[in-house]
């Protein structure tokens, strides 16, 4: 790192930041220097202290020691308001939006500009138009936020920061919720912002993104800032080593598949979303025992609805589901009966669907199986059995800490996800429906989870994998179908295709048209 005299002061300088929560040292003497007008990546595993550091920068926590300098001036940031005043804007992984309000109203929130809304509203509407044109960030200002896709919601978050005059934009794992093309759009936009001399701090797990986007990258490990590189001078393996402190295998070793009988068949499925819009439009496929069928596609193209309909959460508006060749009766199309038949489901969203955050881990580890006699044969639950069962699952899936009585919310994302997988896989289902298994999960856990999914396949299970991570689709699938606009646009074997080919299918260029 060089800082020649006469150069502009760095946009952000963190000096000796230290923060403990009880016995846990979340940040240890962290130094970080983010030069103005650059895209600075921060990588690290879950629990490495990235989020704590950014929460300190955004005024959610105050550091126990150390100082923050913005544009060379020492500042004290005690609230998000003060962070905004310093020109810092933050885009969180979990959005801070009000779903029933419109885009315009969300952007205005906290910046209404007076008791009467009309003037502020028209000013912000105009500003939104300008920003949209300038950065390719078009959003309908009158659309209801709750009805927008995740990618567009994120766009609203970024617009919120920009409207407030953010010069420094911090994005916390922004691509975790995005589709590849949305991510590309985001990157394009961030480059445009950089071109306008804005400073961007980009937090991620994904080394590919670091390599393609950032100018400089800092690596955090266990609360410490262990290294900073110019991106051009480093490589993914070097970064990965710095992150985990050991060599990791980015590719998974898996033998050839031995597909057996058809376990699950979908015939002309039609599924509508909550608003009645057709999201799955005549999808058919076969899933065999002993294979992983990857469902690729840009998020919002019907994968979520397909997965929910297969799992019995969402009603089917047309078509038929066959399990072991027998049609699934309407009365059986609910999560309870499907579990009994042997369909396991790892939902896409562990926070909202897969776990109950305020519950003890052992109680989250029995969700969906709460009726089973393993947990107590009589009227009352057998607490010992519940705890022992969770303990066994946590051991089998290396959930850390192995504490069945700890609140679910207190586990890191990767460990929460392992808990969900443990629950579904340990019940030994014939068919596994897996949605976004490694979203927001650190590299070490990704490797572990991928191995477990492949092990399921090798044990003769039929695995349906829905993922918007192309790397994941490629690494795991034996066959790939691509969805676009609720229709299957193509089927491929991973060895016969490449990212470009799939990208075309995901963009709706189907086999017939090609």
């Amino acid at each position: 790192m060089t800082s020649a005299a006469g150069m502009a002061p760095p946009a952000i300088e963190l000096i000796g930041i230290d923060k403990s929560f009880g016995p846990v040292h979340a940040n240890r003497n962290v130094n970080l220097r983010v030069e103005r007008g650059l895209i600075h990546g921060i990588v690290g595993e879950n629990g490495a202290g990235k989020s704590t550091l950014m929460s300190i920068l955004y005024g959610f926590y105050e550091a126990d020691a150390g100082e923050i300098r913005v544009n060379g001036e020492r500042v004290r940031i005690r609230s998000s308001r003060e962070a905004i005043d310093c020109g810092i804007g933050m885009v969180f992984q979990h959005f801070m939006l009000v779903p029933p309000l419109s885009v315009l109203e969300n952007v205005m929130l906290g910046a209404e500009g007076g008791a009467l809304l009309a003037r502020g509203a028209s000013a912000i509407r105009k500003r939104l138009g300008e920003l949209g044109a300038e950065y390719g960030l078009e959003v309908d200002p009158d659309a209801i936020v709750g009805e927008l896709s995740v990618g567009l919601q994120q766009r609203v978050e970024i617009l919120k920061a920009l409207v407030r005059g953010a010069e420094i934009l911090v994005l916390d794992e922004p691509t975790a919720v995005l589709t590849p093309s949305e991510a590309d759009q985001l990157f394009e936009m961030l480059r445009v912002l950089k071109g306008q001399n804005k400073t961007i701090v980009f937090i991620t797990h994904k080394l590919r993104e670091i390599m393609s986007l950032t100018d400089r990258v800092s690596v955090m490990r266990r609360g410490e800032m262990v290294a900073t590189f110019d991106t051009a001078d480093t490589s993914p393996p070097e970064l990965a080593d710095a992150m985990v402190g050991r060599k990791v295998i980015l590719k998974i070793d898996k033998g050839p598949a031995h597909p057996g009988r058809v376990a699950l068949e979908a015939r002309d499925l039609v599924v509508r979303d909550d608003r009645g819009v057709v999201r799955v439009d005549g999808v058919s496929f076969e899933l065999r025992e002993g294979e992983i069928l990857g469902v690729a596609g840009v998020a919002g193209n019907g994968q979520s609805e397909l997965l929910e309909a297969l799992a019995g959460i969402r009603p089917l508006n047309g078509g038929e589901i066959l399990i072991d060749g027998r049609p699934l009766a309407a009365a059986q199309r609910n999560p309870h009966d499907e579990r009994l038949i042997g369909v396991g489901h790892v939902p896409e969203d562990r926070h909202r669907v897969g776990l109950i955050m305020p519950f003890e881990a052992c109680e989250s580890a029995m969700l969906g199986f709460q009726h089973e006699t393993t947990y107590g044969a009589g009227l009352l639950y057998d607490r010992k059995a519940i705890i022992a069962d969770a303990d066994r699952k946590m051991e089998a899936f290396d959930v850390r800490p192995r504490a069945p009585l700890l609140k679910t919310a207190n586990f890191s994302g990767g460990n929460q996800q392992k808990l969900v997988l443990a629950r579904e896989i340990e019940r030994n289902p014939k068919i596994m429906l897996v949605g976004q298994p490694t979203r927001g999960v650190d590299i070490g856990a990704i490797e572990f989870i991928h191995k477990r999914i492949v092990a399921q396949r090798d044990a003769g299970k039929a695995v349906l994998l829905v993922s918007v991570e192309l790397d994941e689709i490629f690494a795991l699938s034996d066959r790939i179908i691509v969805l676009c606009g609720g229709r299957v646009t193509g089927e491929r074997r991973p060895e016969d295709t490449n990212a470009r080919d799939l990208g075309l299918l995901m963009a709706g260029v189907s086999d017939h048209a090609a």
Binding site: F21, G110, E363, G368, Q370, H371
Partner: protein, 369 residues
């Protein structure tokens, strides 16, 4: 955007926060007493002596506490399912009708089976009255807060009509039914003690108290040790996860409101079968609403509810004594104190969280992950 609160250790959440809230309510109440020219310390002394100073005071205190345990449990059960049952007042009132009908008209039932059937009828009527808002919430998306509030008025109107026009003893001025036969009453404590030759002053304190304790234990078992309780808590904490887990939120909504209404019926058991021995107009006198405060203060946990109910019992009984001893401090003053407790324990529940959390942060807080 609000700053996330640091998690508090369980013991602080359960014990310290409610105590600080109650203390704040008492400090403000003390200032009010001071403002009307009385000595707050003396007022506290009279209040405590009146409520706990002798067996008679204790009897009345526990009698009130019994009512509050029932209504507190009723509210808390719905809390766990994420429902706010404001209608305990009306459900309890309607439950009184069930108890009275049995006690008055099924007199042929032998011995104490009459009172047992009357207790069951109270639970049944309470549940039935709660069933309608429960159904509307579960299947028609009508918010339970709105419907239960309206149902309180409906209960009041129905009962007023029945007591004035149908059930009143002919020739009687008061809007009340005839007295229940002896085997249609819950035994009072002094009667039971007399069997053992122990003298206990005559108070309304009756065996419903034991039923309340049993109900508290059963509610605890239900919520934390049964499948239904797990499903209730799951629906309350995360309805989407509940659906994923094969739980029907609509079914849980109905079941919790039914159970809540049945618990509300306990108020009728204590007051109608245990003390009044006849159904009287507006007998619930707001105890159903106090149940909301009790449930909030007790943090929806049966043990907390019992403690909060006893505190409110002390306030009711001691307050009556205080109004008697110190004419300047009227009965309304006690309502003010109760209101302040509700304010601090319920509405301002989180006000002292941050200071307490900050105080404890260095030693016991957990890291965000």
């Amino acid at each position: 955007m609000s700053t996330p609160l640091k998690p508090l250790p369980a013991w602080a959440d359960v014990a310290v926060i409610p105590l600080v809230n109650v203390a704040a309510a008492f400090v403000i109440s003390g200032l009010v007493v001071l403002a009307i020219g009385e000595n707050p310390l003396q007022a506290v002394q009279i209040l405590l002596t009146g409520a706990l100073g002798d067996l008679e005071g204790i009897g009345f205190t526990l009698y009130y506490a019994t009512s509050f345990i029932f209504t507190g449990l009723a509210v808390a059960l719905c809390f766990h399912a994420g429902l706010f049952n404001i209608g305990v007042e009306g459900q309890a009132y309607f439950a009184g009708l069930g108890a009275a009908l049995v006690a008055l008209h099924l007199g042929f039932l032998p011995g104490y089976s009459l009172v047992i059937v009357a207790i069951l009828a109270a639970a049944l009527f309470g549940a039935a009255f709660a069933a309608i808002p429960g159904y509307l919430q579960a299947y028609r998306d009508s918010h339970i807060v709105i419907t239960t509030i309206m149902f309180n008025y409906i209960a009041s109107a129905i009962m007023g009509y029945l007591l004035v026009n149908v059930m009143r003893v002919p020739g009687q001025m008061n809007a009340e039914t005839a007295a229940f036969p002896a085997n249609g009453r819950v035994l009072q404590f002094h009667e039971v003690m007399a069997w053992f030759g122990v003298h206990w002053p005559v108070t309304p304190f009756n065996l419903s108290f034991l039923l309340a304790l049993v109900c508290a234990f059963v509610v605890w078992l239900l919520i934390w040790r049964t499948r239904l309780g797990y499903e209730i808590r799951t629906v309350g904490a995360n309805p989407t996860a509940a659906v994923y887990g094969g739980i029907s939120p609509a079914r849980i909504t109905i079941l919790s409101t039914l159970l809540s209404g049945a618990l509300a019926g306990g108020l009728a058991v204590n007051v109608i079968l245990g003390e009044e021995h006849r159904l009287i107009l507006e007998y619930t006198s707001g105890f159903g609403f106090v149940g909301i405060a009790v449930a909030l203060m007790g943090r929806a946990h049966p043990v907390g509810i019992i403690l909060a109910a006893i505190l409110f019992g002390v306030l009711y009984q001691g307050g009556a004594e205080l109004a008697f001893e110190q004419p300047k401090i009227s009965r309304d003053m006690i309502v003010v104190i109760q209101g302040l407790v509700v304010l601090f324990a319920g509405a301002l529940e989180h006000m002292f969280r941050r200071p307490v959390a900050t105080l404890l942060a260095r030693r016991t807080a957990q890291p965000p992950i």
